[in-house]
């Protein structure tokens, strides 16, 4: 079909983003994008914000998308498929019920982590909580969502049955205006019993057992049921969502979950690769998604503003900023989330805070997924490539060098990796279309819709500062090759060659680890054209920052200067 058009809309808490894709001769391409204010407060209909975003698309693309009644034009000249993702709405008050803390509750925390939940109560069925106390707690939680997992298949079921009895009373007794949803993701031998016992009709969502066998966990087994529960809740909570889904013939996905589809796709597109990672830093939440083969990690965290966060923010600032100034900025930004830094000082705080939010999110991810290779001191130990950066705090930045340095300081990766930037904040938009138009995200990723920020080579060596740790030989395809010495504590940049990929030979010192398998081991690396170029980070892990505030901010300033930012 000629000029087949596809639409994707992501309804965030502040902004509603819309993207229009066109199928051209060489595949799908992003035609344009638009942003409007989300209209999801009580008394508002979120379709108003969506219509404004579509009007923006119409204006930019010259393509008529809305009819006179503001309905989306489908049919042959209109939109062939729509994707819809949602992160607007209050966090979903969630209760987890599991047979043990370390086993099923930990798995349930991982299961619900990408669905905008706020876990308000956890019931560990091995606790000595009597049935009355358990019931009182379940009622007091006033939850929107109850997620229950009950051990391995054919495992013990008595405590689960008792908990289901209480859940039924909670569900049947409370005249909640938003009907709570019940997800059962446990012992499959009890699933039919759970459905009959709870008498919740379509509010009951049966999942396959996420822990069918001991030491085997499959979060994917629980996702369809979680998606069903998420949609039914949001349709009740967000005016206009159900109608939008019906008119557009699509079902909304949680934005973070939609984004995770793209990360899994990138990982699958490179089966011999290291795994893919995406980081989305916004004002109120940070999303971490990582995929490598069957292994999947995904969390949404909401960093607190505390004295420690103030101290950490002051520590990572490119200007000398005291703790109180950092706290004033962060607290006021929390009050006015759309606020943008207009001064250098505000920008320095914002970017330092972004680094701290990344640290916090990675720590939280490690707590939920103990096998996630992150150490708060040593940084990201697992190799992921690419690392995709998204969200206002990483995208709305004056220079790509600043984004790259924030990511580098926030993650503190090891070895060699590539950072890419989701400038159009497309992750969720592509993910929500992946089911209907599977080729679309693949072709867009292939076409370079995510810009290549730069290749990073981390050289870690237990050497004294200023000692040479790595020598680079740079082959730009010309007769003469350049060499570059890198010393401990330095950040260096090698600019990209516009003509095409460049080869760099890494010759590390005896003790220097550049991620080639062993300290002292080097080799050739081919690096593609990128916005910043190739960055060599020889600062070591953990980052050795000067204690004195002025010297510390000077160090950050110099590193940024080295990157050209």
């Amino acid at each position: 079909m000629e000029n087949r058009r596809t639409l994707s809309v992501d309804i965030g808490s502040q902004n509603t983003r819309a993207w229009l894709f066109e199928q051209r001769e060489d595949g799908f391409a992003l035609a344009c994008s638009a942003v409007a204010e989300t209209t999801a407060a009580s008394g508002q209909d979120l379709r108003a914000g969506v219509a404004r975003a579509l009007e923006g698309l119409q204006e930019k693309s010259g393509v008529r998308l809305l009819d006179l009644q503001q309905n989306l034009i489908r049919a042959e000249e209109g939109i062939s498929a729509c994707g819809l993702s949602v992160s607007a709405g209050k966090p979903i008050r969630t209760v987890l019920v599991g047979v043990s803390d370390t086993y099923s509750l930990a798995a349930l925390r991982r299961l619900v982590s990408l669905f905008y939940t706020d876990v308000v109560l956890e019931i560990d069925l091995q606790d000595d909580l009597n049935a009355t106390a358990q019931l009182e707690k379940l009622i007091a939680a006033n939850a929107d969502l109850f997620v229950c997992a009950g051990g391995t298949n054919q495992g013990a079921f008595k405590p689960v049955r008792a908990a289901l009895d209480n859940l039924r009373i909670v569900y049947q007794s409370l005249p909640r205006l938003v009907r709570p949803q019940l997800v059962y993701a446990g012992n499959e031998a009890l699933a039919d019993y759970a459905r009959e016992e709870l008498e919740a009709g379509e509010d009951f969502h049966r999942a396959l057992n996420i822990q069918a066998r001991t030491n085997a966990e499959s979060l994917a087994a629980g996702w369809p049921a979680m998606l069903g529960a998420f949609r039914r809740l949001r349709r009740q909570q967000l005016t206009g969502l159900a109608e939008l889904e019906q008119d557009w013939e699509c079902e909304a996905l949680p934005s973070a979950f939609a984004a995770s589809r793209v990360v899994r796709l990138i990982d699958r597109m490179n089966p011999e690769g290291k795994g893919a990672m995406a980081l989305d830093v916004g004002c109120s939440s940070t999303i971490v998604i990582a995929a490598r083969g069957e292994e999947f990690i995904g969390t949404i965290s909401h960093p607190p503003i505390s004295e420690q966060v103030g101290k950490d923010t002051s520590r990572y600032s490119t200007l000398p900023i005291d703790v109180q100034s950092a706290a004033v900025y962060m607290l006021n930004k929390k009050l006015h989330q759309a606020f943008l830094p207009a001064t250098l000082e505000d920008l320095a705080i914002e970017q330092a805070w972004t680094r701290v939010r990344l640290h916090y999110a990675l720590r939280r991810t490690r707590e939920s997924f103990p096998w996630f290779g992150y150490d708060p001191e040593l940084g990201l130990l697992d190799p992921y490539e690419p690392v995709l950066l998204s969200g206002e705090s990483l995208v709305r930045v004056p220079a790509p060098q600043q984004t790259l340095l924030m990511a580098l300081d926030g993650l503190q990766p090891h070895g060699i990796t590539t950072f890419a930037l989701d400038s159009d904040q497309l992750l969720a938009g592509l993910g929500s279309l992946a089911e209907k138009e599977p080729l679309l995200p693949v072709q867009l990723i292939d076409s370079g819709v995510f810009s290549n920020l730069g290749t990073v080579i981390c050289a870690d060596a237990p050497e004294r500062p200023a000692r040479r740790v790595l020598t680079l030989e740079i082959d730009r395809g010309e007769s003469a090759r350049e060499t570059l010495d890198v010393r401990r504590g330095e950040v260096k940049r090698v600019e990209s060659t516009p003509a095409g990929p460049m080869r760099i030979y890494l010759s590390p010192g005896e003790l220097t680890d550049v991620g080639m398998g062993l300290p002292g081991l080097g080799g050739w690396v081919t690096v593609p054209l990128s916005e910043v170029g190739t960055v060599i980070d020889a600062r070591g892990r953990p980052l050795d920052l000067p204690e004195e505030m002025n010297k510390r901010s000077e160090a950050f300033y110099n590193w940024l200067w080295e990157l050209g930012g």
Binding site: A131, N142, D165, L177, E197, L335, H336, L340, A342, L344
Partner: protein, 351 residues
């Protein structure tokens, strides 16, 4: 993101929805005048639940359980009623400890809902009921002075508005005790925990603070009385418009609704002085947007808290000192200084 709207309005129709979290009964009707604190809707709920394990509690054989249970699901019970019993030489009886109802009998367990508690939603200012929200609550309207803030601790109260020059008495002056009892006190800035404690010791009914230092946040959150912050965190003066509004409210009974600000719900804490004028239900509020001539309050150093009038809205984005390129609003401040500021960094004032 749209521009934030801040109300500093003299003759404003103030509308507020009061709703229960559960389906309940609405206690008022449209057109009814209500006072602050008056219940608008309520729901009766069990005070507590009790789960009784019949098999273990009565020491009976699970296969014979049916014969020992004396009540059916849904049946009301009075305190002392026998719910289950095992007769015989050593009889065992489970009696209802309180009036209530049998809500479940499953797997040898009886669940009782006991007692009754009322969950009510109360009006926080006097006004007229202009809309009933079936089974949930009502919308109350009043015409009056409205001053919104940026932060609240979730409590509300009312009292006579008094203005203090500072949180602490001048050096050498003795701290009065309980002199603010029943009053809503306005304080331009609170810098220290000691100053805040000193204020609390004077027992006001509520506090309206211009600005506060960040370290006070835990104390503000835990304060036993409503606290509203007008401008934000840091050391800022109260803007001229808010000051003028506070002067108009002084010595009169005001209603402080220090509800938590929620950007997603576009709600803010506020201070209300009800007027005498009739409310005009059915009037729609005009949609506010950035326009030349509108007044705004500025955010971000060095302008935080100052107000001014929009004199220009350039179409082309401009590059700021931070290096970010943003759409701009040009504002003439009260002191006639012309400033260029990102559109995201202003609050549009509803007057």
């Amino acid at each position: 993101m749209g521009t934030e709207i801040l109300a500093i309005a003299c003759d404003q129709q103030i509308l507020r929805s009061y709703t229960l979290p559960f389906a309940g009964s609405v206690l008022v009707r449209t057109g009814q005048e209500v006072e602050a604190g008056e219940p608008l809707a309520e729901i009766k709920m069990p005070e507590r639940y009790q789960v009784f394990d019949v098999v273990n509690g009565l020491k009976i054989n699970p296969s014979n359980i049916e014969r020992h249970i004396e009540r059916l699901v849904g049946e009301p019970v009075k305190a002392g009623d026998v719910v289950a019993q095992k007769s015989g030489l050593i009889s065992r009886i489970f009696r209802a400890p309180q009036d209530g109802m049998v809500v479940a009998i499953r797997d040898g367990r009886i669940t009782l809902a006991l007692g009754e508690k009322k969950l009510q939603v109360l009006a926080t200012y006097p006004g007229t009921v202009v809309e009933i929200i079936p089974e949930r609550g009502a919308v109350v309207a009043v015409q009056g002075l409205l001053l919104q803030g940026v932060w609240g601790n979730g409590l509300n109260s009312s009292g006579e508005l008094v203005s203090l020059d500072a949180a602490e008495p001048a050096a050498g002056k003795k701290q009065p005790t309980a002199d603010l009892q029943g009053k809503i006190a306005v304080v331009p800035h609170v810098a220290t925990k000691a100053a805040f404690s000193a204020l609390l010791s004077r027992e006001p009914a509520g506090l309206v603070l211009g600005s506060v230092m960040p370290e006070l946040l835990p104390d503000l959150e835990q304060a036993p009385l409503p606290v509203m912050v007008l401008v934000g965190y840091g050391e800022y003066e109260i803007d001229a418009l808010s000051k003028a509004m506070l002067r108009q409210m002084e010595d009169q009974t005001v209603y402080l609704n220090a509800n938590e600000a929620d950007a997603s719900e576009q709600s803010r804490p506020d201070l209300i002085l009800p007027g005498k004028a009739q409310v005009s239900p059915g009037l729609f509020r005009e949609e506010l947007r950035l326009e030349v001539g509108r007044r705004v309050r500025l955010l971000g150093k060095p302008y935080t808290g100052s107000t001014g009038e929009i004199v220009e809205l350039p179409e082309e984005p401009e590059k700021f000192a931070s290096g970010l390129v943003m759409r701009t609003v040009v504002v003439r401040r009260e002191d006639d200084l012309i400033v260029r500021i990102p559109r995201e960094n202003v609050e549009l004032i509803l007057e």
